[in-house]
């Protein structure tokens, strides 16, 4: 069983949940799966060496949440410690635009509206 830190993408996850019940259900299921085994998720391909050199970092992986209208990704760091404990830090969460570009405007909008959440 792995621990999960969602703090860095808290606003983004809340915004995703609001988009549809399908995405909300997919997120719940993904977090449950992540808790059971982070290595079940696809690795982010071709990670540059400068991003993979952190101590105890096993891999960088991604979660896909896709419904008809929405196409979200959550990228997380999967850490494995000497004690045997495993941990996932959700690093960044975003929708994809046409052309597979990350929708950075959406991310900035969530950060700008952060005070609305609390």
């Amino acid at each position: 069983m792995a621990t999960i830190d969602t703090d860095r993408v808290d606003k983004e996850l809340r915004a995703m949940i609001k988009t549809s019940n399908v995405i909300k259900a997919q997120l719940r299921s993904a977090l449950e799966k992540l808790e059971k085994d982070p290595s079940e998720f696809e690795r982010l391909k071709y990670v540059p060496p400068s991003l993979s050199a952190f101590k105890n970092l096993d891999s960088i992986r991604k979660i896909k949440l896709i419904s008809k209208k929405h196409d979200f990704r959550i990228v997380f760091a999967h850490w494995k410690f000497e004690s045997g404990a495993e941990h996932s830090d959700l690093l960044i969460a975003f929708p994809r635009k046409a052309g597979y570009d990350i929708d950075w405007d959406w991310i900035e909008q969530q950060l700008a509206e952060s005070e609305d959440w609390f």
Binding site: T3, I4, D5, T6, R14, Y46, A77, G99, Y100, D101
Partner: protein, 213 residues
């Protein structure tokens, strides 16, 4: 049908060109010229131009190539080394990613590989002085004013590619995305500094009581 943004296609083309120099390209001038004369070959047969070029001090120059080089450096795909008379630009690209890029261009733009190889053989290893001399003799330089656009890129903002899968398009896009690299680097550096802690996500997002940990 998968889609890639114009910027992604341009970064991939620059990365493909950079990978032709086995030990790196000495200076960006030769990178601009190899891509310019590759594009020129394409113009001659009415195909496509990947970049917009203008006449500039050292010959045919593209702001888009300069932007792509900056993006590739930021995304960890280009290393600058100062170990000779000029800065050496080296592509950092894992073999499977190189194969994916080559396959992408082979299917979407089959002529590029051949055109680029021909131009590279002629221009790739000339001295900078020779490159500038030759570039200044070309009619695209002699027949235009400084700052004048020689030709515009024919790429649309979003390029539709029938032969590419959605997964490959996403991987190609992520490979050369400088903002993704910066965001991941910053957040990893932040995460590594603090002890691992568990968020009560069931309560936080789904109003449930945590019962597993």
């Amino acid at each position: 049908m998968a889609k890639l943004s114009r910027e992604t296609v341009q970064r991939l083309a620059v990365l493909k060109a950079l990978s032709l120099w086995q030990n790196g390209a000495y200076g960006p001038v030769r990178v601009h010229k190899v891509l310019f004369f590759t594009d020129k070959k394409a113009s001659a047969t009415s195909r496509r131009n990947l970049f917009t070029f203008k006449k500039w001090a050292l010959g045919q120059y593209s702001d888009e190539i300069a932007s792509a080089l900056n993006g590739l450096r930021t995304s960890g795909r280009l290393r600058n080394v100062f170990d000779g008379p000029a800065e050496r630009l080296t592509a950092i690209i894992p073999r499977p990613a190189q194969v994916m890029i080559d396959e992408f261009f082979e299917s979407w733009y089959p002529e590029l590989d051949k055109d680029m190889a021909v131009v590279f053989d002629e221009w790739g290893y000339l001295s900078n002085a020779e490159i500038i001399r030759k570039a200044h003799e070309d009619h695209t330089y002699t027949e235009s004013e400084k700052g004048e656009i020689i030709w515009e890129s024919t790429l649309p903002d979003v390029v539709e590619i029938a032969e590419l899968s959605d997964d490959d398009a996403e991987n190609l896009s992520d490979l050369v995305d400088p903002r993704l690299f910066l965001a991941l680097r910053d957040r990893l550096q932040e995460a590594v500094k603090i002890p691992a802690k568990h968020s009560d996500w069931r309560r936080r997002y789904f109003c449930e009581v945590e019962d597993t940990l």
